[in-house]
C-alpha cells in the first residue's frame, strides 16, 4: 500500500502515458490522435514536475527584507525549480506540435474531404494502385 500511495503521482504518470499512447495508436480520427499525443506529453510534464519536489521543501523564492536585500536562510529547504523551467519549454514545444498537427488536419480535410485515417489510407492505396498500373512493374507501393 505504501508502495502505491508513496508513488501516487508516478502511477498517475504511467496511467496517463499509456492512455495517451493507446489513443494515438488505436483511434482512427486524426484529431483524436492529436489529443492522445497531448495526453501523452502531459504525462511527461507531470513526471518532470514530480522530480522537482523536495520533501518538506517550499517554493524556491528567496525572501527579501524591506530594503530589497536577499535574506538567505540556510535552514530552509527549497524545491528544485529547474524541472519546472524545463517543462515550460516542453509545454511550448507541445503547443507548437499541436497547432502544426491541427493545421495539417485542416489541409488534409481540404484535400481528402475526410479526417478518418482509414478513409485516407483507402484513398492513398487507390492512388498508388492506379499509379502502379499506369507505370508498370506493379511490385512497389507500400511495404
Amino acid at each position: 500500500m505504501e508502495f502505491i500511495l508513496g508513488h501516487l503521482n508516478y502511477w498517475f504518470v504511467i496511467v496517463l502515458m499509456m492512455t495517451g499512447l493507446y489513443i494515438v495508436i488505436s483511434r482512427g480520427n486524426l484529431v483524436k490522435k492529436i489529443v492522445g499525443l497531448n495526453v501523452f506529453q502531459v504525462s511527461v510534464f507531470m513526471l518532470y514536475i514530480s522530480i522537482g519536489k523536495v520533501t518538506g521543501g517550499t517554493a524556491p523564492i528567496f525572501p527579501t527584507d524591506l530594503q530589497g536585500k536577499i535574506q538567505i536562510d540556510p535552514t530552509i529547504v527549497y524545491s528544485n525549480p529547474l524541472p519546472h523551467v524545463l517543462i515550460l519549454t516542453a509545454i511550448v514545444v507541445g503547443i507548437a506540435t499541436t497547432s502544426l498537427g491541427l493545421a495539417l488536419i485542416v489541409r488534409i480535410r481540404e484535400e481528402y474531404n475526410t479526417i478518418e485515417e482509414q478513409d485516407i489510407l483507402d484513398q492513398d492505396a487507390a492512388t498508388a494502385h492506379a499509379e502502379n498500373l499506369a507505370h508498370g512493374d506493379a511490385m512497389g507501393g507500400r511495404a
Binding site: I51, V93, D124
Partner: protein
C-alpha cells in the same frame, strides 16, 4: 559559483560555436520580416554559407583531438548551457552546413518549379529553422538543449515535407504520420532524459557521464537508456521504426528530400552515438546487450530495405528504402563496438550524406524535366540529360561501394571492423547486401540509358543552377574516395574519443570560452 566578471576582449573566432547556430537562427525570422521574395533566397544562402565557414573553422581546430567548450552567456557548466565541439560533432556540423549550402542553389529553380510562389518566403525561413535545429542538436553539450533543438528541426521538417502537397496531396498524410511518430520519438527521448535527471541531478552531458560512472548502474538509468535509444531510433529511422521515412522522402519537394536525407537521420545517429558512448559508458552499453539488438536490427535493415528497394518502380521511393538500408550499415558499425566499427559509422555518416544528396538532387533535376520520378517516365532521360545521368551513375556506384568512390571507403572500414571481431560471416553479409544495391542501382541505370527517351518529357539538360550542386556532390563522392584524410582521419579521432567513454569527455579543453 562566484564567477568573476572576466572582460577579456574576445575575437569573433572565439564565438564560432554560438555563431554556428545563431546565424541561421537569425536568418529565419529576418527572411520573414523582410517579406521579400527576391531577398529570401540570398539571405538564406549567405546565412548557410556563413554557417559552413564556421563549421570548417571549428573542424580545423579540433580535427586532431581535443575539444572546444563554449559557455552560453558566460555561465559556466554544469549550471550553464555548454556548447562542446569535438572531432565527432565537428564532422557532422560540416556535413549539415555543407549540404545545406550546396542544396540551396539547387533549391532555387527546383522550388520555383514545385512550390507555389506565395509560399517561397516562408519556405526559405522554415529551411533556415530546420538547419538551425540540426546544427544545434549536434553542437550542444547540454542534454535538454538537444531536445529543444530536435523539436525545432522536427517541427520545421514536418512543414517542409507538407510543402510537397501542391504536387501530390499524399505529402500531407506523410507529414502527419511523420509528426505523430516524430513527436512520440522526441517524447520518449524526454522521458529518458527525465529518468537520467532523476538519477544524476544534472543536464550537462559531461557532468552526467561522470555521475553515472560514479553512481554505477541502476534500474532508473537503464530505463533512461532504453527510452533515449528508442526515441532517437525513431528519429534515425532504425529498422522497425522506419515507417515514416519512405512516404516523407517520396512526397516532400525534391530540395527538401535532398537536404533531409543527407542530414536529419545523420544528426539522430550522432546523438545516439554521443549518448551511448560519452554519456553512458561503453561497458554499460555492453552490459545492456544493446549491441546485439542494434546489430540484429541493422542486419535485417540491410537486407529487407534493400530487397524492397529492388522492387520499386519509383526512383525517389527506391532511394528512400536504400537510405533505410544504409542507416543499417551505420548502426552495424556501432554494434561491432570496436575502433574500426565506430570509424565506419562516422565515415559512412558523412559519405552516405554526400552520396544521397547527389542522388536526390539528380532526382530533382529529372522531376523538373519530366514531372515525375517513375521509371517508365524518366526512361531514356540519361541520353538527353547526359550530365544529370552521369551524376546518377557516380552516386549509384558510391551507394554500392565501388572502389574509387566514397561509399567504398566506409564499407572497407566496416568489413575490417567485422574481421577485427572475427565475424567473417558478417563481412559476407555486408557483401551480399551490397549485391542487392547493385541490382537496384542497375535498374535505374537501365531505365535512364537503355530506353528511348520519353517523348512527353522536356528534352533538355537541367539548368546550370542545378547541375552545379549535383556535380559538386557527385565530385565529392569521387574526391572522398581517394582523399580520405579529412573523412577517415577525423572519424578515427572521433571514434577514439567515443570509445574512451566519459574519459573522452573529461579531457582538458583546447580552448575554454565565456
Amino acid at each position: 559559483m562566484s564567477s568573476e566578471a572576466q572582460h577579456v576582449a574576445l575575437s569573433l573566432q572565439d564565438h564560432l560555436p554560438v555563431l554556428q547556430v545563431l546565424i541561421p537562427f537569425l536568418a529565419g525570422p529576418l527572411i520573414v520580416l523582410l517579406g521579400s521574395r527576391t531577398l529570401a533566397w540570398p539571405v538564406a544562402f549567405i546565412a548557410s554559407f556563413a554557417a559552413f565557414v564556421c563549421s570548417g573553422l571549428l573542424l580545423s581546430q579540433v580535427m586532431n583531438g581535443g575539444f572546444i567548450s563554449y559557455h552560453i552567456g558566460g555561465w559556466a557548466p554544469p549550471l550553464g548551457i555548454e556548447y562542446r565541439v569535438d572531432a565527432a560533432n565537428a564532422l557532422v556540423l560540416l556535413l549539415i552546413s555543407g549540404i545545406s549550402t550546396v542544396v540551396l542553389p539547387f533549391a532555387k529553380p527546383s522550388v520555383a518549379d514545385e512550390i507555389p510562389q506565395r509560399h517561397h518566403t516562408l519556405f526559405y525561413a522554415t529551411f533556415m529553422l530546420c538547419l538551425t535545429g540540426l546544427l544545434g542538436v549536434v553542437i550542444t553539450g547540454d542534454a535538454f538543449n538537444v531536445f529543444v533543438f530536435l523539436e525545432i528541426s522536427s517541427l520545421s521538417t514536418y512543414v517542409l515535407v507538407a510543402k510537397g502537397a501542391s504536387k501530390d496531396r499524399r505529402a500531407l498524410s506523410a507529414a502527419y504520420d511523420y509528426l505523430i511518430m516524430g513527436t512520440i520519438g522526441a517524447t520518449f527521448f524526454v522521458i529518458g532524459l527525465g529518468l537520467l535527471y532523476m538519477a544524476t541531478g544534472t543536464l550537462n552531458m559531461a557532468d552526467m557521464a561522470d555521475r553515472i560512472a560514479a553512481l554505477g548502474t541502476n534500474r532508473t538509468v537503464q530505463a533512461g537508456f532504453a527510452f533515449i535509444i528508442i526515441g532517437m531510433g525513431l528519429k534515425a529511422a532504425m529498422f522497425p521504426l522506419h515507417h515514416w521515412l519512405p512516404n516523407a522522402y517520396n512526397y516532400a519537394p525534391s530540395a527538401v528530400t535532398a537536404f533531409l536525407a543527407a542530414t536529419a537521420t545523420k544528426a539522430a545517429i550522432y546523438v545516439m552515438l554521443r549518448f551511448m558512448f560519452s554519456v553512458f559508458q561503453p561497458d554499460f552499453v555492453l552490459d545492456m546487450g544493446a549491441t546485439w539488438i542494434i546489430g540484429l536490427l541493422a542486419v535485417i535493415a540491410m537486407f529487407v530495405a534493400s530487397f524492397i528497394a529492388v522492387f520499386q518502380n519509383n526512383f525517389k521511393r527506391m532511394l528512400a528504402y536504400s537510405s533505410i538500408a544504409q542507416i543499417g550499415y551505420m548502426l552495424l558499425g556501432i554494434s561491432m563496438f570496436n575502433l574500426n566499427g565506430l570509424t565506419a559509422t562516422m565515415v559512412h555518416l558523412f559519405n552516405h550524406g554526400i552520396t544521397k544528396a547527389a542522388l536526390f538532387m539528380a532526382v530533382g533535376a529529372l522531376v523538373l524535366r519530366t514531372g515525375t520520378t517513375f521509371y517508365d517516365r524518366i526512361a531514356g532521360m540519361g541520353r538527353v540529360m547526359p550530365f544529370t545521368g552521369a551524376a546518377v551513375v557516380v552516386g549509384g556506384l558510391s551507394l554500392i561501394g565501388v572502389p574509387g568512390t566514397a561509399g567504398f571507403i566506409s564499407k572497407w572500414v566496416l568489413v575490417q571492423a567485422a574481421f577485427d571481431n572475427g565475424w567473417w560471416w558478417m563481412a559476407l553479409a555486408i557483401m551480399a547486401s551490397s549485391l542487392l544495391a547493385v541490382i537496384y542501382v542497375w535498374r535505374i541505370v537501365e531505365a535512364l540509358y537503355l530506353h528511348a527517351p520519353n517523348p512527353e518529357a522536356e528534352h533538355q539538360e537541367a539548368p546550370l543552377m542545378m547541375l552545379g550542386p549535383i556535380w559538386i556532390m557527385a565530385g565529392a563522392c569521387v574526391w572522398f574516395g581517394f582523399d580520405t584524410e579529412l573523412t577517415l582521419g577525423t572519424a578515427r579521432t572521433a571514434a577514439e574519443a567515443l570509445l574512451a567513454g566519459s574519459a573522452g569527455m573529461a579531457e582538458i579543453p583546447t580552448a575554454a570560452m565565456h
